[in-house]
C-alpha cells in the first residue's frame, strides 16, 4: 500500500498548478461578506475630518505585493477621496518604488498636488529603531523628501507636524513582516497613542486579533481582507477600482478551490495512513 511519503510530491505541485492556472483562465468571482475588522479599517478612515494628515507606511516588498498592493492602492484612493493628506514613509527598502508608482497612477485622478496633498519621504533604515526615531521626530528623521530632494519643512503638508506624532491623525501600515505592524504598535501606538490601521500578509494576520480593538483600530489581513476592503471602497464611490475588485474576487475564488484541494489532500493522506496501519 502506497504511503504519503512514497508519493511523488511533484504530482501535488502539478495538481495545484493546473487548478490555479485553469481557474485563472476560465473562472469567475464571487462577492465576500465583510468582516468586522475590515469594516473597522474602512470606518476609521471615513471618520477622519477633511484635511487630516495620515502617515502611510509601505512596509512590504515584491514577494508580498500580491497580497498588499491592492489594499495599499485602495487605501490611497480612499484617503484621497476623503480629502485626507498623506505622508508616505517606508521601513522596507522595497516600499518607495511602490509608493512612487501608485501615486503616479492614482493622484492625478483626484487632482492631488505633491507637497500639499501628499509627500514621499522615502525609506528609513533601522527597522524598529527607525520607527522610534520617526515617532520622536518625523522632521529630523527625514531631512529631505524622496522625490524632489527638497527640505521637508518647505512643503505645506509638513506644517503642523511636530515631534511625538503631533499633527498625525492616523498611522496606516502595509506590513509584510519585520519591521511592521507589531513594531509600529510598540513604537507608535504604545508610546504616542496614535491610532493604527494595518494591512498584513496571511501569516501575520492571526497575531492581530489579540491587538484589536485596543491597540489596533482595524486591519485587513491577507488577500481576504484586501478583497473585502476593495468592495467597500468601490461601494463608497471609486469606480476605478471595480476591475481590481473583480480580479481579487476571482483570485479569492481560486483560493477557495485551492483550499478545498488541500483539504482533499489532507483527507487522502489520512486515508492512506489509516489503510497502511491496518495493512501493517
Amino acid at each position: 500500500m502506497a504511503t504519503a511519503t512514497d508519493f511523488d510530491r511533484r504530482w501535488i505541485f502539478l495538481a495545484i498548478g493546473v487548478l490555479v492556472l485553469g481557474l485563472y483562465a476560465f473562472g469567475s468571482g464571487a462577492p465576500m461578506p465583510v468582516s468586522p475588522y475590515v469594516q473597522s479599517y474602512f470606518d476609521t478612515i471615513d471618520a477622519l475630518p477633511e484635511g487630516s494628515v495620515v502617515l502611510l507606511a509601505a512596509d512590504f516588498d515584491p514577494g508580498s505585493a500580491a497580497e498588499l498592493l491592492p489594499t495599499y492602492q485602495a487605501t490611497i484612493h480612499h484617503l484621497l477621496l476623503r480629502k485626507l493628506r498623506i505622508v508616505n514613509v517606508a521601513t522596507w527598502p522595497a516600499g518607495p518604488p511602490f509608493t512612487r508608482s501608485s501615486f503616479a497612477e492614482i493622484a492625478p485622478q483626484y487632482g492631488a498636488v505633491y507637497g500639499s496633498d501628499w509627500i514621499e519621504l522615502g525609506f528609513k533604515a533601522g527597522d524598529d529603531v527607525a520607527m522610534g526615531q520617526i515617532g520622536q521626530s518625523l522632521l529630523s528623521s527625514f531631512a529631505q523628501d524622496d522625490r524632489d530632494k527638497a527640505d521637508v519643512t518647505s512643503f505645506p503638508i509638513m506644517q503642523g507636524i511636530s515631534d511625538s506624532f503631533q499633527g498625525i491623525a492616523l498611522l496606516i501600515t502595509m506590513s509584510a513582516g519585520y519591521p511592521g505592524v507589531l513594531e509600529w504598535i510598540a513604537q507608535a501606538g504604545g508610546r504616542y497613542d496614535v491610532p493604527i490601521l494595518a494591512a498584513t500578509t496571511a501569516v501575520q494576520t492571526p497575531d492581530l486579533f489579540a491587538y484589536y480593538p485596543s491597540q489596533l483600530q482595524g486591519f485587513a489581513g491577507a488577500a481576504t481582507g484586501a478583497t473585502q476592503y476593495l468592495q467597500l471602497v468601490v461601494a463608497a464611490g471609486v469606480p476605478a477600482l471595480e476591475g481590481t475588485t473583480t480580479d481579487n474576487q476571482e483570485r479569492m475564488l481560486i483560493q477557495t478551490y485551492a483550499h478545498l484541494l488541500i483539504i482533499g489532500l489532507i483527507v487522502t493522506g489520512n486515508v492512506l495512513y489509516f489503510l497502511g496501519r491496518r495493512g501493517a
Binding site: 516588498d61 514577494g63 513582516g177 519585520y178 500578509t201 485596543s214
Partner: protein, 319 residues
C-alpha cells in the same frame, strides 16, 4: 551633546534627594529638562525618572530580575532545578553523529534577523555548542548568514566552538558564508546549499519569516534530519509540519540551560517559570473579578470590585 545629556540626567536623579549642586551643574551646561523646585517629590519622580504609563512594566522587569537573581543563587548553591525532556535537544547529538557516519556536513541556519534580535543572539550561543559538537565528531559545519554583523558573530561562535573542543584546526573560514541581505535571495541560497552539498543534519534555530517552509521542505526533500527552533509563533506550524523535531517558543530560550546545566542559566529558566505561574494566577483573579464586575454592571448595580478591575484594565474586556 552626550556630556550635557548625561549631566542633565544625573542632575535630575539627584534633584529628588535635594541635590542642589547637581541641579546647578546641569543648569550650567544648558539642560532643558529641569522640573520646578517647588513640585512634590513624587510628581518630580514621575516627571523625571519613570513615565507613569510604563511604571507597571518597570516594576515587572525589576521583579523578574530579582526573582532571576534569587533563582541563580539557589542554583549555584546546588538546589536541584530539573528541566523536562525536550526531544529536539536530545536529538542534536544524534543528528551530528548521523552526519559523521554519512560523511556529510551539518547545516546551521541562524535565522534571518539582525543581531539586535534576541533570538539571533541566542542562536549564536547555541551555534557555539553545535560547533563544539561538530568539531568533536570531525564533521564540517556550514553556516550561511543573511546579515553582515551576524557573520562576524557566527565566525566567532564557530571558532570558539572549535577551541572548546580542542580542535582549532576544525574551523574552516569558508564554511561561514554571507549570502544576501534579501530574504528570498538568502532562502534561495540556503536551498541551493541543501541541494548541492546535501547536509545530513539541518539545524534551523532563530528568527524566521516566510522562508521557513521553503527551507524546511527543501531540507526534507534532500533527506536531512531537521531540528528547528524559534520563538516566532507564526512559523512554528510550518516547522512542526516539515521538521523531525521542533523546539517551540520558550523551549528555544532553554536550549543552552538544557545542554550545559549551568547554574546561572538554570536559574533563569526557574525565574521564567515562577513569573509564568504568577501571571497565570493574576489572569485567573482578573477573569473572576471581571466576570463579577461585568455581571454587576449589566445588572445596573455598582460593583465593589471596580477598583480592582481597573488595575487589570486591558486584561479584562472594557465596558
Amino acid at each position: 551633546m552626550v556630556f550635557p545629556a548625561f549631566t542633565a540626567l544625573l542632575g535630575e536623579l539627584f534633584a529628588t534627594a535635594g541635590g542642589a549642586l547637581a541641579m546647578a551643574l546641569s543648569q550650567a551646561v544648558g539642560s532643558q529638562a529641569v522640573p520646578p523646585v517647588e513640585s512634590p517629590w513624587w510628581e518630580r519622580w514621575q516627571e523625571t525618572v519613570i513615565d507613569p504609563g510604563k511604571l507597571p512594566t518597570f516594576v515587572a522587569v525589576v521583579f523578574f530580575g530579582a526573582v532571576m537573581f534569587v533563582a541563580q543563587s539557589r542554583a549555584r548553591r546546588g538546589v536541584e532545578m530539573p528541566i523536562r525532556r525536550i526531544g529536539g535537544l536530545d536529538a542534536m547529538d544524534e543528528a551530528i553523529g548521523r552526519s559523521t557516519e554519512m560523511g556529510r556536513p551539518v547545516l546551521y541556519v541562524p535565522g534571518i534577523d539582525e543581531i539586535k534580535e534576541i533570538q539571533t543572539i541566542y542562536s549564536m550561543l547555541i551555534l557555539r555548542h553545535v560547533a563544539r559538537k561538530a568539531a568533536e565528531f570531525g564533521t564540517p559545519l556550514i553556516v550561511p548568514v543573511k546579515d553582515s554583523v551576524v557573520l562576524t558573530f557566527a565566525e566567532e561562535a564557530v571558532k570558539q566552538g572549535c577551541l572548546d573542543a580542542g580542535r582549532p584546526d576544525a574551523y574552516i573560514a569558508d564554511n561561514v558564508r554571507y549570502l544576501s541581505n534579501e530574504q528570498f535571495a538568502y532562502c534561495a541560497g540556503v536551498a541551493g546549499i541543501m541541494n548541492r552539498e546535501k547536509p545530513a543534519a539541518n539545524f534551523m534555530l532563530g528568527m524566521f519569516f516566510a522562508e521557513s517552509l521553503i527551507l524546511a521542505e527543501t531540507g526534507f526533500a534532500s533527506g536531512a534530519i531537521q531540528i528547528a527552533g524559534t520563538a516566532k509563533q507564526h512559523q512554528l506550524p510550518f516547522f512542526v509540519a516539515a521538521c523531525d523535531y521542533t523546539i517551540i517558543g520558550e523551549e528555544y530560550f532553554a536550549v543552552t540551560a538544557y545542554l550545559t546545566r549551568e547554574p546561572n542559566l538554570l536559574g533563569t529558566i526557574r525565574a521564567a517559570d515562577v513569573t509564568k505561574l504568577l501571571a497565570i494566577a493574576a489572569l485567573l483573579v482578573a477573569t473572576v473579578l471581571g466576570v463579577i464586575h461585568a455581571e454587576a454592571h449589566f445588572a445596573g448595580r455598582p460593583s465593589a470590585f471596580s477598583h480592582y478591575t481597573d488595575l487589570f484594565k486591558g486584561v479584562v474586556a472594557d465596558d
